[in-house]
């Protein structure tokens, strides 16, 4: 019983983080049909923002808010720097500019800060553990679950109830038609990048909480995780991204529990094999997106 509960808590906390990351990637993909490869750097930016303001006397929550805002601002900047100027040209051009922007940000961190890990301030509570029904787990994991639950619910509500949310969903299926109803293209795209930045910023707080330090390459793993989760879930479906995130966490955690010690170092190989099997079964991912897809 305790083991089962432990498993559930692990899957939910890891899955919550994965789901937020995947959602941040797929919200942009859904509208632009383009993977933003500079997405991982949003986590890096949030990390270095925390590091840079770490010495100040601000309360941690304020620092966290500033870090999230920095990720949002960088997300919107990605649109202006890497996407908007070449959006009308070709998919390849945008793909390359998004890689270029990613490299640029990483190298800026290498050059102006350091290639070595830099400690980020973390609240005391992150290193505490808590016992729930006999399960001992870091408070950080519980907070991840809470943050994911709140953020995903608010997101779902906004997409369902507000005019902007409805416009975002409409633009993801027929962009030109949405524009013909007066929905400004740039507003929808900037909002998508802002949401992307918000998700990455919030995830960054918990991601950094595990190691306590930020390095220039920190964004690669979360980008990969988000990408795999969206591929499993279905690149064009918001629910699919969330589902994919939790499924990937389920696979990862399941292997952690099931694999013998000497095979644990090959866990990723097992994970990817399972991902391949899922894709052989459902090449489009588990959930299909909106019916049509014209690129903008």
């Amino acid at each position: 019983m305790t083991a089962a509960l432990q498993f559930v808590v692990d899957v939910l906390s890891l899955g919550g983080a994965y789901a937020m990351m995947a959602l941040g990637l797929v919200i942009v993909y859904g509208i632009l049909r383009l993977v933003n490869f500079a997405y991982g750097e949003l986590i890096m930016v949030a990390g270095y923002t925390l590091y840079l303001i770490g010495g100040s006397a601000l309360p941690w929550l304020v620092m966290a808010a500033v870090a999230v805002l920095a990720a949002i601002a960088t997300g919107i900047m990605t649109d202006y720097v890497a996407f908007r100027p070449v959006r009308a040209k070709s998919v390849t051009a945008v793909l390359i500019t998004s890689f270029a922007f990613s490299t640029l940000l990483q190298n800026a961190a290498l050059l102006f800060i350091s290639p070595r890990p830099r400690n980020v301030p973390l609240p005391e509570i992150f290193s505490d553990t808590i016992q729930i029904w006999g399960v001992i787990t870091p408070v950080r994991n519980v907070l991840t679950i809470v943050a994911a639950a709140v953020l995903l619910s608010v997101f779902a509500l906004v997409m369902k109830r507000t005019m902007l949310g409805i416009a975002m969903r409409a633009a993801a299926s027929q962009f030109t038609m949405a524009r013909m109803l007066g929905v400004p293209a740039n507003l929808v795209i900037s909002t998508a990048f802002a949401i992307s930045g918000l998700m990455a910023g919030v995830v960054a707080l918990f991601w950094l909480g595990r190691s306590g330090a930020v390095v220039p390459g920190i964004g690669l793993e979360p980008l990969l995780v988000a990408f795999i989760a969206t591929v499993i879930g279905g690149m064009r479906s918001l629910q699919g991204a969330v589902l994919g995130g939790f499924l990937l966490a389920f696979i990862d955690t399941g292997l952690n529990h099931a694999l013998p010690q000497n095979l644990l170092q090959f866990r990723d190989a097992f994970t990817f094999s399972l991902v391949i099997l899922i894709l052989l079964w459902r090449p489009e991912g588990l959930m299909r997106g909106p019916a049509t897809g014209q690129r903008t």
Partner: protein, 235 residues
């Protein structure tokens, strides 16, 4: 209300629309006729901003319309119903309608009022309000597309082949609806292949052939003077 002069649309080397000029007066129902491939839809799309013309001038109520900015065209008061209808299949009927009022999103009372009005006009949309639009029949989707366009309270309605692919009985209802909308004072530019039915409700007609305006005049004159079969066949 709408004035188009010397409009030219190109697809690569092909000139689909060659120097088209037309005008639609306030409260008028103008119809743009022609065979498949005559350039009717391209003309309408260019007016709506969904397509970037190579040259030409488009003015709406005296204001010049910028090329390729459909969202601005809506704010100037023109609403477009494309031939593919393009209802958002995963959004409910109610959400589709609500989005039609995007430009008036700060006026929830007005939106509710208009919602009630279009549901009165198309009762089936009220019955299916909570259903995804993709589950509607072709005729119902056409009604939804028109209703959605009306939600922006347009001064000019651009209709691209509303009868396309629909059963005769439904077509009749759609045309009756268009005539009804005209009676409310709405200015309409209608693109149609269904020449006889369109001319019966229109005030003015333009006939396109190979990207050019081949004939124009009051609808009654065009009806009397033109061999309608030639319009269908593009002769």
């Amino acid at each position: 209300m709408l004035e188009v002069s010397a409009l030219e649309v190109r697809y690569g080397a092909i000139r689909a629309v060659r120097g088209v000029s037309l005008r639609v007066a306030q409260g008028e129902l103008a119809v743009l006729l022609g065979a498949n491939g005559a350039g009717k839809s391209s003309t309408l799309k260019a007016i709506a901003g969904a397509l970037r013309p190579a040259r030409g001038r488009i003015t709406l109520a005296g204001a010049e319309v910028p090329y390729g900015w459909p969202e601005r065209m809506v704010r100037l008061g023109a609403a477009m119903v494309p031939e593919t209808r393009d209802v958002f299949p995963d959004l409910t009927v109610a959400e589709n309608l609500r989005l039609g009022a995007f430009t008036r999103r700060r006026d929830p009372a007005g939106i509710a009022e208009d919602h009630a009005r279009v549901v009165e006009l198309f009762p089936v949309l009220g019955e299916r309000a909570g259903q995804p639009a993709g589950t509607l029949s072709g005729g119902e989707q056409q009604m939804l597309a028109i209703a959605r366009a009306l939600m922006s309270r347009p001064r000019l309605l651009l209709l691209d082949e509303p009868s396309l692919g629909l059963a005769p009985a439904i077509i009749e209802r759609i045309f009756a609806m268009i005539a009804e909308l005209k009676r409310t004072g709405l200015t309409i530019l209608l693109v149609e292949q269904n020449a006889a039915q369109a001319l019966a409700i229109a005030d003015r007609a333009y006939v396109m052939r190979l990207g050019e305006i081949a004939a124009s005049g009051p609808a009654a004159e065009i009806r009397a003077a033109t061999d309608l079969k030639a319009l269908y066949l593009g002769g």
